[in-house]
């Protein structure tokens, strides 16, 4: 009874933490909603038009991104091409820079006077529907790619081998084995990508032209008109897809715990398929690298496009304006956010995944709320709630806001990992006279190592590139690097903005590289006998 009392106390503390860091600030924000004519807003012409635009452009972008991701993850997992690691790394590059930079990249490349437009004499405009689609696909494709690669990597090959033996055609194999196997993960990937795209305003703000989406409308209401109430209402509307995804996820959470060792695929020789894989992977890599090359070019010329002489002006200008100090702030923020974030999400997920009870369910729900709060709304609610407090204006509030903003995804990663571990481990410990803490340290943590590293990377990368939530909370002494992109962009110093994007990319790439190295080492050791123990 004693231990369960302790667990309840920990859960209570965690709930208090979430109340203070999520619920109360949000309530402060929502209090401003009472003055809004919600019904009037929701049936107004501009709102409905923006809603329709958002839905259409998000749906199209989602379908394209997931289709591309399916194709490429399948080609990488089921072909014999070389440089798979390199391709996989390239495909995920766009995840490592802020979405607003993708918009910028598109303008530089495909704008009326863009580099590519110039070379090929293209006509037509990137601004509008297809601009948003292109930018959205850019940054959401890597997410879908990672999710689907994971699924395909752990698919069991034995049903296919059996089907081959029985002489079942490839098409039937696809219909009766692959399709049912992929249905659930495909659905969650579609939802994840959809949610990601529909709340983004970075891309539509840059290349949306007159195609106005809901997040842009929210942005203009909140920032342009100081109408926080109306903005929050739109924010709540944007929350719906995440909520639906969450409910579906809860309803579908069954039999996930059954773990079995899948037999890996033995890929046969197939020239045509491998050729196709090379071509497609190469094309996508090119598409990913183009904007980055454009940033590099922009960084290194004097003034694009009128003065194309090489120069270090933009770099030294960025550093004169504090890029060095801001990089320092960003690194501290990202590091502390990642460490506390990993610790906190592990603790919460341990409680919700491995100690049943009503409190655990509430905690689980609260943990996922942050998934759906748009950054602008979260940032402003923090201003409203924390102004005048000790942490206001300090690095601590930036760390806290990032922690909350990015909590849900890493939490879900570790939640799934912990839920898959045998449910009786702690009970085994109890019957053997080994404490819960020892079991966590010696058995659970070592098995969660890969996930923990992935969570760390997630927190770190996102803290490095986030703009929306921190924009209102940073001061001159705490300003993270990413905010320099918006201020350069506002002053139309695209060259400097491009350099900052590259700087962020470099840092994130390093962290991501370390993670990949760590995981590949870990995966290798998991399947090898442990010599040291003998």
């Amino acid at each position: 009874m004693k231990t369960s009392g302790k667990l309840t106390a920990v859960k209570g503390l965690l709930l208090i933490f979430f109340a203070v860091s999520v619920l109360l600030p949000l309530l402060r924000m929502l209090a401003r909603m009472t003055t809004v004519d919600i019904r009037g807003l929701l049936v107004s012409g501009p709102f409905l038009a923006a809603l329709k635009n958002s839905l259409v452009v998000t749906a199209v972008s989602t379908l394209i991104a997931v289709f591309l991701a399916t194709l490429l993850s399948w080609l990488l997992e089921r072909s014999r091409i070389r440089f798979k690691g390199l391709f996989a790394l390239l495909f995920t590059l766009p995840m490592l820079i802020p979405s607003i930079s993708h918009g910028m990249g598109l303008v530089v490349l495909f704008g009326a006077n863009g580099l590519v437009t110039g070379w090929f004499g293209l006509k037509g405009s990137i601004y509008g529907f297809w601009g948003i689609v292109a930018g959205s696909v850019m940054y959401s494709f890597p997410v879908a790619f990672l999710m689907l690669s994971d699924i395909l990597r752990y698919e069991d090959s034995s049903p296919y081998e059996a089907a081959d033996v029985m002489g079942i055609s490839r098409r039937h194999q696809f219909a009766s084995i692959t399709a049912p196997f992929l249905r659930r993960p495909m659905l969650s990937t579609l939802f994840a990508v959809f949610t990601l795209i529909i709340i983004d305003y970075g891309v539509p703000l840059m290349v949306g032209g007159q195609y106005k989406t809901l997040p842009v409308m929210m942005y203009q209401d909140v920032i342009g008109l100081l109408d926080f109430g109306k903005g929050s209402v739109i924010g709540l509307v944007l929350l719906t897809p995440a909520l639906v995804a969450f409910i579906l996820d809860v309803l579908n959470r069954d039999k996930l715990t059954l773990s079995f060792v899948a037999r890996p695929f033995r890929v046969r020789k197939n020239r045509l398929r491998d050729g196709l894989a090379y071509v497609t992977s190469g094309l996508v890599s090119l598409a990913v690298l183009l904007p980055i090359a454009a940033f590099l070019l922009l960084t290194l010329v004097k003034k694009y496009p009128s003065d194309m002489r090489l120069s270090m002006d933009n770099i030294s200008r960025a550093f004169n304006m504090g890029a060095g100090a801001n990089l320092g702030h960003s690194l501290v923020i990202a590091l502390v956010t990642s460490l506390t974030g990993v610790a906190l999400s592990f603790l919460v997920a341990y409680m919700t995944a491995r100690t049943p009870g009503k409190l655990s369910k509430i905690l689980h729900l609260v943990s996922l709320i942050s998934l759906a709060i748009p950054g602008i709304v979260l940032g402003l609610s923090y201003v409203l709630f924390f102004k005048g407090s000790l942490i206001y204006g300090s690095l601590a509030i930036l760390i806290l806001v990032n922690l909350v903003h990015f909590f849900a995804s890493p939490y879900l990663m570790i939640y799934n990992t912990l839920a898959k571990l045998n449910e009786h481990l702690e009970a085994v410990g109890q019957t053997l006279g080994v404490s819960r803490i020892s079991i966590i340290r010696d058995v659970i943590l070592p098995q969660a190592g890969g996930t923990l590293a992935e969570m760390f990377t997630y927190f770190f990368v996102n803290s490095m590139m986030t703009i929306s939530a921190v924009a209102f909370l940073a001061t001159a002494g705490t300003r993270p690097l990413s905010l320099m992109i918006t201020s350069f962009e506002a002053q139309m110093l695209l060259e400097c903005a491009a350099f900052i994007a590259l700087l962020i990319l470099t840092v994130n790439l390093l962290v991501k590289g370390l993670f990949t190295y760590y995981r590949s080492r870990k995966e290798r050791s998991a399947y090898e006998p442990d010599q040291a123990a003998v």
Binding site: P46, A112, N113, Q210, P305, S306, L384, K387, T475, T486
Partner: protein, 324 residues
């Protein structure tokens, strides 16, 4: 467990350590939305003038500046707000200290706000900026008036800031509403929309689009256009007969902060020296009754549009009707 506790404790300490900022009577915090090169100049001058003070110039894009003040209210750490546009200043009025003790007679009368809670710092005029090279490529004439811009041959060549996001965009809208009447002006922009390449979110968007060759005609900021011309970019600027629309920017002290001598000194230095130096160096447009400033390539004797009746309520009302 001990180790975990140790780590948590360490985090707590980091939080507290970074949580404790410095404070003091010597520190003055200014939120400002001026361009980077002007901020740099102000910073240099402030250091010369107040070596014993720590004056923090906190650059914030206009919207963030206003949204942050609105949310922080009187608890803000900001002491002086510099260069918000009059629309924002009007809606944030209740936050500002009364400035009626200062002599407002040197300013043009129409620039002095009724409330007396803020003072003008800058007039930002608009012009029609042209990238002649692109027009010539397409063999198109330079437009003569607003109506010309509706011609189908200019389709996709015009850039304008979105009035909802940018004060520059709004001033074009308001000037035509005053000149032609509301209905006609709105109908005009409805028609113009189909010719517009993109409504930019920032007032500086159109000139940049022109510089980059994205667009040929910009409803733009005069000062920015001149800056680019002086940098050697081949742009031209025109005013149509309705006159140059303009928006006004001002400065204010947060209520309660005016009692601090340091804040007051810095505010007065901005008012009496920096604003004037800024006119001499960067933004010469007229705000004083009896003082004019001349800058290379800057048009003189600009005919300004009628911008009367501009208030936050009017802006909100007009923007309600704006659905682009």
């Amino acid at each position: 467990m001990k180790r975990v506790g140790g780590i948590l404790l360490a985090f707590l300490l980091i939080f507290l350590a970074v949580g404790c900022g410095k404070s003091g009577d010597e520190k003055v915090i200014v939120y400002l939305s001026s361009e980077e090169y002007r901020v740099e100049y102000f910073q240099k001058r402030l250091k010369e003038e107040f070596p014993h003070y720590e004056v923090v110039l906190e650059y914030l894009p206009t919207g963030t500046h206003a949204a942050k003040l609105e949310a922080e209210g009187l608890e803000t750490e900001c002491d002086i707000s510099f260069e918000l546009d009059y629309g924002y200043l009007g809606s944030l009025e209740k936050l500002f200290a009364d400035l009626s003790a200062y002599d407002s007679s040197p300013y043009l009368a129409e620039l002095v706000p009724d409330s007396g809670n803020y003072l003008p710092t800058l007039r930002n005029g608009g012009c029609i900026a042209i990238n002649r090279e692109i027009l010539e490529q397409k063999e198109l004439p330079v437009p003569d008036n607003y109506r010309d811009l509706l011609k189908p041959e200019y389709k996709g060549l015009i850039s304008m800031p979105n009035p909802k996001a940018s004060g520059t965009g709004y001033m074009f809208l308001k000037s035509l509403v005053n000149a032609w009447g509301e209905e006609e002006a709105l109908a005009y922009f409805d028609a113009l929309t189909s010719n517009i390449l993109q409504y930019t979110s920032s007032g500086s968007g159109p000139v940049n689009a022109l510089v980059q060759g994205e667009a040929a005609i910009g409803l733009a900021m005069t000062a920015q256009t001149v800056t680019e011309i002086n940098r050697g970019v081949d742009l031209e600027l025109y005013f149509f007969e309705e006159g140059s629309p303009y928006s006004l920017y001002g400065m204010a002290m947060i209520k309660g902060k005016e009692t601090r001598p340091a804040v007051k000194e810095v505010f007065e230095f901005f008012k009496d020296s920096l604003v004037i130096e800024d006119k001499e160096l960067f933004f010469p447009e007229k705000i004083f009754k009896e003082r004019d400033f001349v800058l290379e390539n800057y048009p003189v004797d600009i005919l300004y549009a009628d911008m009367s009746g501009d208030s936050p309520a009017e802006k909100a009302r007009l923007l309600e009707k704006w659905d682009h």
